[in-house]
Amino acid sequence: MKRIALLGMPNTGKSTLFNRLSGASARVGNWPGITVDLMSAKVLMGGHIAELIDLPGLYDLHGFSDDEQVVRHFLSHHAVDLVMIVLNSSQIDRQLSLALQIKQLGLPTMLLLNMQDEAKRAGITIDTEAMAGALGFPVQTISAKYGDGCPQALQLAGQVLNNPATITAPQDIAKLLEVDSQIEQTMHDIVQHTVQMPIKFNDETTDQIDRVLLHPWLGLPLFFLAMFLLFQFIFTVGAPLQDGMAWILDTFRTEALEPMLANIPAWLNGLLLDGIYNGIGTVAAFVPIIVLFFLVMSMVEDSGYLSRAAFLMDTLMAKMGLDGRGFVMILMGFGCNVPALMGTRVMRSRPMRLLTMLVIPLSLCSARLQVFLFMIATLFAANQAAFIMFALYMMSFFTIFLTAILFKQQYKSTEPFILELPPYRFPTPRQIWLRGWQEVKHFLNRATKFIVIGVVLVWAMTHYPTDVAPASAATIAGQIGQFFAPVLDPIGIDTQLAIALIFGFVAKEIVVGALAVIYGLQGDALSQQIAMNIDWVQGMSFMLFTLIYTPCLSTIATMKSESKSSVFMWVSIVWSLALAWVISFAFYQTARALGL
């Protein structure tokens, strides 16, 4: 099978092209010695089935960033039949350097000049034939977003693959990569002869929008307003979808599954319905919101506003060892931590990415919001509710800032903050959809396994031994609750609440339901029972603990797969548990000492 490496500078639409060519058939490949996920897909080219690999974006083949090292490692360890370079047509005057660096490796190469539409609008014309002549390999203008030129590009690729060329062996590439010859003059000459550029071609519209959105005083308030509106949008649209999904799953259970499984042994019935089906249901109910998040997120990301937000927030975030982009991810985390963790992929420096991933699980996600709304309604008067909710959001910010400040020495980022501001772009629906779908697929693959196992375990824990009441003190869950009593008593959490917290480890969505199972009650009766059993100080302590400790198994799984480090995952779990306990303890004991 032929192997094609897709390579280009960041922000050139390389991944858009990859998605277009692969048609969403992509998968994550395993490459020895490479620690980042490389997407690859099988593509038909010139009668060959070829494997197309999407390499990370890089500025300089001789650079020192993690991504640049990944590309070098890949090229010097794997034979490649064709290198497809993707560059941004409207920035060809400086991006051509990458094509010239690749040319020196002596591999079969072709150059795709992307964002032809934007270049045209900017008044740039490129003589591709003259450029191909000067470079010694085919050049094709394309628009990955709209698909223009893509069939021609595929045809050209087929021709290159069909021409048996001498391919530099990977070990020789390694030697060639050490040589960093001067290409400045060559680049200048080629651009001079093949590219026509207006002196000033910055998109006027982008400048005008920037004057407002990056305004020294208005910029930040507008940024918060925009984020608030996105957040509102996701919830306004997402909540009914989530309810609808829950209704469908519930109906399917009562109408189809329960009659169908009525004749099997009770324990198997319980395991299948209360364990596995509810487990999958929990994940499935997440899906509409996750899809929405990714659609909105890829829209924000592709629009160019994310880099602007980074510009606006960087001053404050720098004081906490983070940067502007980290703040955007934290905000995303207020909806759901999982996509926010995945979103940190835009960060190039690993320490910075890890520090951001460490603080994201502390943002008060929608699942925790559910628990709080329930507990507040149970324990507080209606006129206090908004204040308590606000206090919990403030606590979330406080723990994020505290964690970042405490850990910034461990995750010191050496990379300077230099970021390109792309012109504003309006992503096409197809682009948004493809991106969103990829992410959702990954999320489901991971989360399903994790949650099914977790839920089965929890079900077993509350139902064994079988001759006692489910979730009572005699069950395994009850015994674990009692086992933790010495730790949880000082923060005012009784055995019943402790079992709910164990459930909460799987997903916060289960907490309220777990309380229903534990007390054997639901609705108003449940609220009254809880209000009789615990006072508001205990309830508040329970909420603080719920806010700060590990959000859910999906977050843990994502944490591990995104950081590719079990150690990091454990640091995050232990830290959040310790912080949750200390803050709950401080609150509970202070309140009690004050006689509350």
């Binding site: 500078m9 500025y59 300089d60 001789h62 650079g63 020192f64 960033s65 409207s90 920035q91 005057d93 400086r94 350097s97 990458l98 900017a122 400045e184 550029m197 071609f201 910055n202 920037d210 990056l214 020294p216 005083w217 910029g219 880099s307 980074a310 510009f311 606006l312 960087d314 001053t315 720098a318 502007g324 300077p416 903050f417 230099i418 970021l419 390109e420 501001l421 792309p422 012109p423």
Partner: protein
């Protein structure tokens, strides 16, 4: 002769020298910071925040500390 961080919004200069270690030098280079190129300061964020500059057709933001390393000649 001045450095990039001393420019006021709207001012421009020609890059004369880049005083940076190799990794940063290469990164700046790849982003279009090359000797002899014209660079314009578009805006700066409040409280010594990042700078927004333009080289040719590329807009870039960078922190003050990096901007201090870029020496300019008046145009």
């Amino acid at each position: 002769m001045t450095v990039l961080s001393n420019l006021s919004p709207g001012q421009l200069g020609t890059i004369h020298a880049i005083h940076a270690e190799q990794a940063l030098y290469q990164r700046l280079n790849a982003l279009g910071f090359r000797i002899g190129k014209q660079i314009t300061l578009i805006r700066r964020a409040n409280f010594n925040g990042p700078l927004h500059v333009r080289i040719g057709g590329t807009d870039i933001i960078l922190r003050e500390i990096e901007a201090q390393r870029i020496q300019l000649q008046a145009v």
